[in-house]
Symmetry: C4
Subunit: 292 residues, 4 copies
């Protein structure tokens, strides 16, 4: 924080050249359009993926025993790299406090803090578990996905369908509570349905057709009820699919017909059309967003 304030003061003194540097850094770190920005994003994604991979491998006992020094070394390299990145982001962010308080700002900080705490405070080795917060940084990959028009289309569709999907989920939960209570009464603790929350957990396992098999109905009536729960789950899976497909079809249809001919003002051109099919004028592709 103090560092970022110093940067701020420095920024006011060396106005000209510094602004250029900050702006350029901002374009590279936060932007995506320039070649340098693309390169930075690609390197960052790889660094996140590999650092997560290193953390994963450290949790595998035989790998940890054999390669612990290497893994720890790699981790410090990544911690330093992410520290530099965090400082750079703080330095060149347009609104520093807003970045620091944003979801990504907090995740960026949390992904480097535990390593330092474990180093400086002797008894804080247990904090290492928090290093796993670094996993949250993979969300950055999803953030990048926003730039892909495909992800855009999917996200927009899901936003349009969000209330329908909420209604669907409430129904599934209500059904789970009712089926779960019923199974608790019918099967009882002696058949593994030790409490209603466990029964509801079992119902969700069954309705979503996961079916671990750690708890299974033993009584005939319990088996009939669970068969009904399965068939219910099997058929209501159609509901979110139906919702999403219907929304997606409309979205794709809307996108496809959003191109307007500048010659005759008519719409309805295929996504890969070059000329207007009514008057033959060349079509501009500024609104052509998908399927290239």
């Amino acid at each position: 924080m103090t560092e970022s304030n110093q940067d701020d003061n420095a920024g006011e003194q060396l106005n000209l050249s510094d602004e250029t540097l900050r702006q350029r850094l901002n374009r590279i770190i936060f932007g995506w359009e320039s070649p340098a920005g693309k390169l930075f994003d690609v390197i960052l994604i790889w660094a996140i993926c590999i650092s997560v991979l290193v953390l994963m491998l450290e949790s595998v006992e035989w790998i940890a025993n054999a390669y612990l020094p290497w893994l720890r070394g790699a981790e410090w390299v990544f911690t330093l790299f992410f520290t530099v990145e965090y400082a750079a982001r703080l330095y060149c962010a347009e609104r520093r406090m807003e970045y620091a308080k944003s979801f990504y700002g907090i995740v960026d900080l949390l992904s480097i803090l535990p390593s330092y705490l474990a180093f400086f405070i002797p008894g804080a080795n247990n904090l290492l578990i928090f290093r796993l917060l670094r996993v949250l940084r993979v969300f950055r990959i999803l953030k990048l996905a926003r730039y892909l028009t495909e992800a855009n289309l999917l996200l927009r569709t899901m936003m349009l369908a969000r209330r329908k999907i909420l209604v669907f989920f409430s129904s599934v939960l209500v059904l789970s509570v009712i089926f779960g209570s019923l199974m608790y009464i019918v099967e009882g603790p002696e058949n593994g349905f030790t409490s209603i929350p466990i029964s509801i957990y079992w119902t969700i396992v069954t309705i979503t057709t996961v079916g671990y098999g750690d708890i299974v109905p033993q009584t005939p009536i319990g088996q009939i009820i669970s068969a009904m729960a399965m068939l219910t789950g099997y058929s209501i899976i159609a509901v979110p699919t139906g919702i999403l497909t219907a929304e997606l079809t409309q979205e794709m249809h809307r996108e496809r017909y959003s191109r307007t001919c500048t010659g005759c003002e008519r719409t309805g051109h295929e996504a890969d059309a070059v000329h207007c099919r009514y008057c033959g004028s060349a079509l501009h592709s500024q609104q052509k967003k998908s399927d290239t």
Copy 2:
């Protein structure tokens, strides 16, 4: 019942002020439009959810041992609250007997009765299991869902598709009976397929792709037949999805084109259109029901 009749008589005597009170209560308890009605519904939903949660927690052994007095206390608070609510509903319902005999009326009564019976009749502690009937009250949440246009659209679609889905379920059941009998003959009691009903239960577990694994085919022929059952289940899951999606697409299409231009009476306008695309008059949005 006697109380409700007395209320009736009272209603006839104090005609003016009472009618107003009953009507106002009716609007609050059964209605949804007024702010007070909305508040009442929100409070009721929370009370139902928390009372169900209390019942659930009581079934977990270590929680019951540690917090039983608190849970019992909370339960009596909810029983009293639901009793007052039931009395109020009986008092202000337009047709009292119809409410008392309706599905929700019976569920409302059944959700409070067991607590009283267990209190007044000493040996009726076993009746406590019936308190779980209170779980059925969560259906009220679904009832509220009816006011949401999204739930409305989904329900209407399911009503349209109900016969197709019935045909689909009959086919699944017939297939289950045939596959189940086949597996009973092929695998036999020594491999866990102890009877035909159990085999049919296994087939439903398999066709719905739940797959508990408590009963698994052991013989090669049994494994071939069950592989066929799996592939059948895997592909017929497409049928309800197909049905629902097709219906939903049509329903959304119909809804979208249900806006009528007041200028030329023509329909077929996009949901976000502001002017009629035929005559240019401004479109009113009173019929725009979804996706806002």
Copy 3:
């Protein structure tokens, strides 16, 4: 057979009255339109369902021990009823040999034969297992389903999609063979993958997301490969759904727009429209096939 030939001769002698009886019986037994035909079909379906239920219950040990005489009695009643029905069908079928050799004719015969064989031949008690062939008679229910327009639409759609679904199934099988062989090499007999056919069975269990858990990968590489198989299965389930939905949407669209106004010859009327929306003439409903 001999009986049916005698009936044939009798039919030639008593031409007039017999033809009427045969035709009437034919209309009742094979037809569906007349009230008597509907009643016969409903009784037959119930008889099939209950006789299958009796067979099922007989396979449950404790029920068989307690109620065997009743179940046997019920079975003989059904055997006699189905024998009379088979004789009547043979008698009144338009082309007797064709019915006797048809799928339903053979199933009808096979469903009554084992009971008689077990009765007349002492050592043939094992034949009782063949009584389960009676289960195949439930196909008659599916046959009835043909008269329902909903089932008709679904069947027609599946016929249209049959080649696409065949291509899909071939791909699933090829994938199963490849994944299965890979898992056999990677995991080997010591982890439960005792042979390639067993590995392929496991792959089908995994790809269809059934997941019994009787065989599970133990090695890291095996787990990576099976994760890939799961994700493959999880996403290709979209293919049959996509195929069917697309076909169903087209079919429903075609059906909906198949009504033509006799006034202006224009099509495109909603399924529930009464008047043409262009010229106002009354619409005839002879082509209105679905969604009533």
Copy 4:
């Protein structure tokens, strides 16, 4: 390789008759249109299927013990047949090196090489496992599928949807990493979640609704998180289905409207239309590609 070069030289010397033979062979082996080409393909597919079946059966212990000489004999027959086929393909391929270096060329070579190596090198019996590479030849069946218009449509649709499905898979993987790490922290090694990679494997098993049940959550918090993972998996399965259905609907729509009237050059005719609906000229069916 040497053999193929000799063939090349021979091809240059006996120009006329040889070219005809090569071209004819090429048409039979690589082509599909001529009756001889079709016959060759059908025989080849059967040979591949049976040879794979023989390999499979050899892996079943009791079959291997009883019929090993027969299986080995059958295998040598197939090895010789595939050797001749490979030589013929090399001989008549238009560009020999390209075929030899193509995917199918390498698979064809790899499917015959192990048998010879195991025969000539005494200690190379372990190489027999590589004979399973022959399984890859079943891809040839998929290659044939390309000629089917149905497979073509499905492939084209999947190509169009490939970026959307890639985005979807990345999201599923990111979700798996996050849920897996969470479960590793919550459940820990004592409940079977021995490392983060194992936890991620478990998450994929859960999200895809496979649910083996070899690892199951034991703690209440773990069960709540896994219930969330299940519901997530249960609903995001809708995404690939939605994508594919929407693409497929568009593709089928495009195909259906690809018929052009020769009279007025207008398109948009139903697949079963005989006359143009604008000018009434007879429609030719040369472009009618699907659903016959």
